[in-house]
């Protein structure tokens, strides 16, 4: 080992330490901001150090070195520049799909490393080749699966795609891909190896697509988190092939941390991961969606606002509809008016409000809502019964009482906010459409519930005006 290689290796060691330490700091709200900076320095350090590798390239690559380095810099600038611009400019509500997209790119990069290891001239032996295949399979699935997840969250692909015998088809695609991968590893640098490798990667990308298309939008956060763990695992495996311990450690840490995160998220929705991946959520709802035969009541925004102005306590349940309407700021204006009138206002956040756990907290924080007004489900659920008004904005499934009472409902058992127990419930909603799970919500037909139809932004503007008109007595 020459001195240069020691420098590269030690840099990678320090960097992986910084990355893991940064991730640890990110897991507490107090140190989270410094955590990403710590990890960022680690990443910058290891990327810069990897450029020292140009002094120790293989004999075969030496004539191409100048071109390769130019290509590398170009790729870094294009990829990094695009992602940086996209990440800065995208709206806070669109964050989940951006995470999906960036995660998919990581999976793609791991797959690219796998392609080179399977086709390149570097002899490694059968065990590393099989590990390469495993990493390539997982990375490719993460790439194509994440792109589908992005398309679904971005509204480019609305309906889950399901057909008869889908599970059998998926299993067949997956098995065939694994078989092709094993062939590609054993036929390394032999006749048919190239074809097997090509077919293997096509199959792996197809497997990722097949796995993701039947999953409904409500489950996407769990799926993205799972693909995040997938990419971590793929990176770890490719790190072994590249004989790079930093990749192995960072990849495997993310692989296990991501798996745990996925389990915790699924638990928040009262589902198991197998349930998310293999059960067709919402399929049964077609038969149960008949609902009560009653008409839902509706009231004007000003009437609802007046009721809240003279209530003594109001709990607000924000959902994704609020975020879509970009009405967080308007909502906080209204809340400040109520507070000025002496109303006790709280926010109740369901663990999966928004599109991901914690997403709604981020959106409310962006609007300037102080943290001590925001309550988690466990802390506030018993308070609804003593509350005058529950104001539900753009949320549906998370306040659906069927989850408590109706055993035949597909969402039965999901923990919900007991907004239906408040003395009066107002629901701001665009129409009588169903939530992401496509289950009818009996709350809307309860006697103590009134609908305020309209776009959240417009309705809240009218409410603000109505309260202003009442004066500050």
């Amino acid at each position: 080992m020459i001195l240069l290689e020691y420098i590269v290796a030690i840099s990678a060691l320090i960097a992986s330490g910084l990355l893991v330490y940064g991730l640890k700091r990110m897991s507490s709200p107090v140190t989270a901001v410094s955590g990403i900076v710590t990890a960022g320095w680690g990443m910058l350090f290891v990327t810069a150090a990897s450029f020292l590798g140009i002094f120790s390239v293989s004999e075969a690559a030496k004539p191409h070195l100048v071109v390769n380095v130019i290509l590398a810099i170009l790729a870094l600038v294009i990829g990094g520049g695009w992602a940086g611009w996209k990440g800065r400019s995208v709206a806070m509500t669109a964050m989940p799909q951006m995470v999906a997209l960036f995660n998919g790119m990581g999976g793609g990069a791991a797959a690219a490393v796998s392609v080179i290891a399977l086709t390149g001239p570097k002899e490694t032996g059968i065990v590393p080749l099989l590990v390469t295949v495993a990493g390539g399979l997982i990375g490719s699935m993460s790439l194509s699966g994440s792109i589908i997840a992005w398309a679904k969250l971005d509204g480019r692909m609305n309906k889950p795609i399901r057909f008869g015998g889908q599970r059998i088809v998926n299993a067949a695609v997956f098995m065939l891909t694994v078989l092709l991968g094993i062939m590609a590893a054993f036929l390394y640098h032999q006749d048919g190896g190239g074809i097997a490798t090509l077919l293997f990667f096509i199959g792996a990308l197809l497997a990722g697509i097949c796995m993701t298309i039947p999953i409904g939008g409500a489950d996407m956060p769990v799926v993205i988190s799972l693909y995040n763990a997938f990419t971590g695992l793929a990176v770890g495996l490719e790190g072994y092939v590249m004989a790079d311990p930093a990749l192995m450690i960072a990849g495997m840490v993310v692989g296990s941390a991501g798996t745990l995160l996925t389990v915790m998220m699924a638990k928040g929705m009262n589902r198991s991961i197998a349930n998310v991946l293999f059960s067709n959520f919402g399929e049964a709802s077609a038969s149960t969606a008949t609902g009560p035969e009653k008409e839902a009541k509706s009231v004007a925004p000003s009437d609802a606002a007046t009721t809240m102005r003279y209530a003594s306590s109001v709990i607000i349940v924000p959902g994704y509809g609020l975020a879509v309407a970009q009405a967080q700021g308007k909502l906080y204006d209204f809340v400040k008016q109520l507070q000025a009138a002496g109303v006790d206002v709280k926010f109740a956040i369901h663990p999966v409000a928004g599109r991901m756990p914690g997403h709604m907290n981020v959106l409310l924080a962006e609007a300037g809502v102080p943290y001590d007004m925001i309550y988690d489900m466990e802390d506030i659920n018993d308070s609804f019964a003593d509350t005058d008004v529950a104001l539900i904005i753009g949320a549906n499934d998370v306040v659906n009482p069927s989850a408590r009472t109706d055993k035949s409902s597909p969402i039965y058992g999901m923990p919900i906010l007991n907004a239906d127990q408040a003395r009066q419930v107002f629901v701001i909603k665009r129409g009588m459409g169903m939530g992401y799970s496509a289950v009818q919500n009996p709350l809307f037909f309860q006697d103590n519930c009134a609908m305020v139809f309209g776009d959240a932004q417009a309705v809240l503007s009218k409410m603000v005006e109505a309260v202003k008109a009442l004066g500050a007595s």
Binding site: K86, V113, I116, P128
Partner: protein
Amino acid sequence: MITAMTFIIALYIFMLAAFTGYEVISRVPSILHTPLMSGSNFVHGIVVVGALTALFNASSVLEQVVGFLGVMMGAGNVVGGYVVTDRMLAMFKPSDKAAPQKGAQK
């Protein structure tokens, strides 16, 4: 040449890293789930280093093309992951003082 011994050592590294990841994430409040997913998304962006090494050692057009794509996607993962995580976590800044106090009252 990767020997059997390095394979075993690799398994030990994987095992210990998996425990580390588990420990780092367990007992996290749910409000941090999204930022953490994004943060761990950033961390696996280290794959760009593997892609860079592969591209530096490329000796055919196929390797150059695939390596270029790999570095591009890896760089996107790193930069995008960082920017998105940073923006999410910035939301927690003003509450740094308020949040612990609220917890203490309960």
